[in-house]
Symmetry: C2
Subunit: 425 residues, 2 copies
């Protein structure tokens, strides 16, 4: 890359492999004696090598991410997504994707074992509980729980605080004598009763609750003591799983679809006390039998491997954040900000849920001027805040603010809400 | 970065942001007149900027991929994996991952609809069939099929050609009067009978086959005509799904776990004639009821979204290859090469399966000198050929050579096999 030199410039001749073309003017001080002009040429003999490692793949710029308030599947932690992306083609030198691994090979074994171990740490799961990674969603567990725990004639109590508890009850009726001992339906699922007011059946095999109602935004802050002879409490924790600490020992069974707080859809986690396993009804499909899965460490058949891997990355991330106490603090902070914005709006925004049971995860609200709701959704979407429409059975708006929704996302939403109100007062 | 200069070297002073440290000796020719020595320092005033765009993520070098003969989950097409990797963080400008999408949003709707549409094209599925994307594996279908198609007292015929058909039979016994009308067990599952020899029950509700036995490597090349009054044939096609054309109209139900030929684990595809839907037994869990899923286009609850997306990428890839006729040609070519190597080995290698029913997908074989099998596995693994161990219930070796196993992989295996034989003759 030599070019004509002016007397006082030195041109760097670089090896042809290096693209940069650099011209370096030279500051010279020469004696002013009458000398012949000289020209000097620099010849680089050392090849320029960039010692830096190749840059990582350019992440989609942060500004390209939407602010995703979907109720599930839902936002996942960015660092988890980037990590999954970087190792999708070749997982940690194995020469294959997690999606291609034999579920019985050593690589995937390490993945599922670490996922279970991390989950046990997060929730402080006592050793007398089995942890199962299953397919079929919470909806399959609506059947699996009574099939595994009951005889067809066993009474079972359902405390129904929203539509998911109601669905669980309806499915259970096929397999046991399920009974609703309390329902919030008359008040449009905006409350949880004082537990003393709930008349439980002492002969019931278990009491079932939905710990967090995704559609109605109603969350148990503490749990009823089961008054049945087995002393069993069962909870669907799909939409607040791993959002806060839980005393697992209070429960006989906890189940959760992963696709709210802990992973993509297709994985359902079941935490079941081991002594409850092994008496499934004869009509139980093998894939719904806890014993089959517990005896085979969730590998009776091919588990949902990639989903389990993603859950494992999320569990690691939660532990790195300091565990569920820390996560709960963040969730309380985010939720408080949003509910305060609603409550301080002088009725422009309204959340119908009784204050003491408002969910940290799902925040339903309406506009006093309901005719503005479509515009609200549309304008929010223009600002890249999406999935704010309320569930089709309820209408209005709903912001789901799971673990992975950053505080900045909620701040953006409340700023928008205040501005929207100001423009439509 | 200035350092002491020798008279004839010029040191480049670069801005501190640029890491490369370059020293450029200078070739000089100075007049030999008695001049004072001069020293010249180059001061770079132009910052070195690399005008090249950031390099694309370095793909894992082709040589880093192992040759993966696993039976499922199994090898996936490289271009599919790379595409999935590139869009994992941000799918096509949506600002979110497929794993974060609401299953009812427009983005995922487009994904699942395209996947279904492409599958219908691939298999030429007639419009009177529903296509369902479910969770639960083929193992759940072992229960779902009789629950949906039969009353508990209905006789049903099972033609058992391997352990998967046997498992389907055992599960079905909970839900119908299942009967084995032929079993290959006595001959260690190495045959398929002449269909005329199989005595079917004219009152049977359906005849069930496993179209390709993954463990035993036995594949139906044509199908029995059902002799029952409903005229229904049902097939588990998990391990040869989309490996060759199929006349769907011959079947009442086809089901397949995706994790052999078409995707990761966690997705089960069910193709069911619509008129068979709607009479599920009362004890059927809602998640096993074809009507619920058909009425809701697989969105009754949250489907396994990422798995469906991956299947969609695979379907696109199969169509780009020219469809299932082309894919079948490749599979026949690969299988022929491997079986010929086995058959030409003068007994060093043996495949027990009767030649006319040898699977194009799963090739079980043993070594005459069985004491060499561990060494075979070990040496193959050194050559990056993995998962060649036979199923634990059978022993020996097994090479699964699904669609995504390239011909080069099979060529590599047979070269190794010939060399291994030469060294151990």
């Amino acid at each position: 890359m030599a070019t004509a030199a002016s007397p006082h410039s030195i041109l760097l001749k670089t090896p042809s492999t290096a693209t940069p073309k650099a011209v370096f003017p030279v500051a010279t001080r020469l004696p002013t004696a009458a000398l012949k002009p000289i020209s000097i040429r620099c010849a680089a003999t050392t090849q320029i090598q960039d010692p830096r490692p190749p840059p990582p793949p350019p992440p989609a710029a942060a500004q390209e991410r939407v602010c995703n308030f979907a109720a599930g599947p839902a936002v996942l932690p960015e660092n988890v997504l980037l990590k999954a992306q970087s190792e999708l083609y070749n997982w940690r030198g194995s020469g294959m994707s997690v999606m291609e691994m034999s579920h019985r090979g050593k690589e995937f074994s390490s993945i599922i074992q670490k996922a279970e171990s991390d989950l046990r740490s997060l929730l402080e799961i006592p050793p007398e509980y089995a942890v199962l990674f299953l397919q079929g969603g919470a909806t399959t567990q609506f059947a699996a729980v009574p099939l595994n725990l009951c005889r067809p004639d066993d009474p079972v109590d359902y405390l129904v605080t929203g539509s998911w508890g109601d669905k669980a009850f309806k499915e259970a009726q096929k397999y046991c004598k399920a009974k609703v001992v309390w329902s919030g339906k008359a008040e449009k699922y905006t409350k949880i009763p004082s537990f003393g007011d709930v008349e439980q059946d002492p002969d019931a095999k278990f009491l079932h609750i939905c710990a967090n109602e995704t559609i109605h935004g109603v969350e148990f802050k503490n749990y009823p003591v089961p008054k049945n002879k087995s002393g069993l409490l069962v909870a669907d924790m799909s939409s607040n799983f791993c959002s806060k600490p839980v005393d697992v020992s209070k429960f006989g069974v906890i189940y959760a679809g992963a696709q709210k707080n802990v992973g993509p859809s297709g994985v359902t986690i079941v935490i079941v006390r081991k002594d409850l396993i092994g008496n499934a009804q004869g009509i139980t499909p093998v894939m719904l039998d806890y014993k089959i899965h517990a005896d085979n460490a969730s590998l009776y058949n091919t588990p949902p491997c990639y989903g389990i891997y993603m859950c494992g990355l999320v569990f690691e991330d939660l532990l790195e954040q300091g565990g569920l106490k820390e996560v709960e603090k963040k969730n309380k902070n985010k939720a408080e900000l949003l509910y305060r914005t609603i409550d301080d709006s002088k009725g422009f925004y309204r959340c119908p849920v009784e204050a003491s049971v408002r969910s940290l995860m799902n925040v339903p609200f309406t506009l006093e001027k309901s005719e503005l709701e479509a515009e609200f959704i549309k304008e929010a979407a223009k600002e890249k805040m999406v999935q704010l429409k309320g569930h089709r059975s309820v209408g209005g708006m709903r912001a789901s603010i799971y673990n992975a929704m950053p505080l900045a996302g909620v701040e953006k939403l409340v700023a928008f809400m205040r501005d929207f109100q100001a423009r439509h007062a």
